[in-house]
Symmetry: C2
Subunit: 129 residues, 2 copies
């Protein structure tokens, strides 16, 4: 079970490294990943990321300043805002995901095919609930 903690750090290291190639932090990568199939408001975004709404403002603002993300006023709520990827943001998100899956599979190269399948399958059991 200590191995699981170690493994999580190793994965975080991969995420940080891939992010660093594009000048993105881990949280920014998560942001882009979440927005790939959603256009949430700030509050909803905060729940996905487990962050306070006041943390989201700066996060989105920094991403917006870099042209990765876009705020548009909510059509149904004058107070609200919808956050969406720009084309540049989407491109980066897809590219990042490819690199991440490549480096993760590379990490699991120490396992043979059956073991890898078994491992990821057990992992997804743990994650899904």
């Amino acid at each position: 079970m200590d191995a699981l903690v170690q493994l999580s750090f190793q994965i975080q290291r991969i995420l940080a490294a891939v992010g660093a190639e594009h000048d993105l932090s881990i949280i920014q990568i998560r942001l882009l990943g979440i927005l790939r199939d959603r256009q949430p408001g700030m509050l909803e975004l905060g729940q996905h990321l487990g962050l306070d709404k006041s943390s989201i403002t700066g996060l989105v603002s920094r991403a917006e300043k870099r042209g990765l993300v876009q705020r548009t006023p909510s059509p149904h709520d004058g107070r609200g805002v919808l956050v969406a990827l720009t084309p540049a943001g989407r491109r980066l998100a897809e590219q990042g995901e490819m690199q991440i899956t490549r480096r993760i599979t590379e990490l699991t190269k120490a396992l043979n095919a059956t073991q890898r399948k078994q491992f990821t399958q057990l992992a997804s059991v743990l994650v899904t609930p």
Copy 2:
């Protein structure tokens, strides 16, 4: 393989939660964990944590200010410093580790005994190199 990323975030969330109970960040927990069986210098500490030496100064200073850690001049090198746990720091480290292993095993409760064993064994294969 997306499951592995998700799993790593879940584990990080556990670490952050246990840390928060004692007002510790994840990096502080790692610091205490490393010092449990070592008294490294600052540079060596930085390598264990994957951080620059200039990052270590503040990290150790904050922990020292809280009485968890202690700097002592190295006996063999007038420039060097050895970092060690104080009794309070050791108590916290042990307590934290117990809580973490408890919450991790709780996380793996969706698996039966054989599966869990298999899973952690595969994980340690990935980690050891």
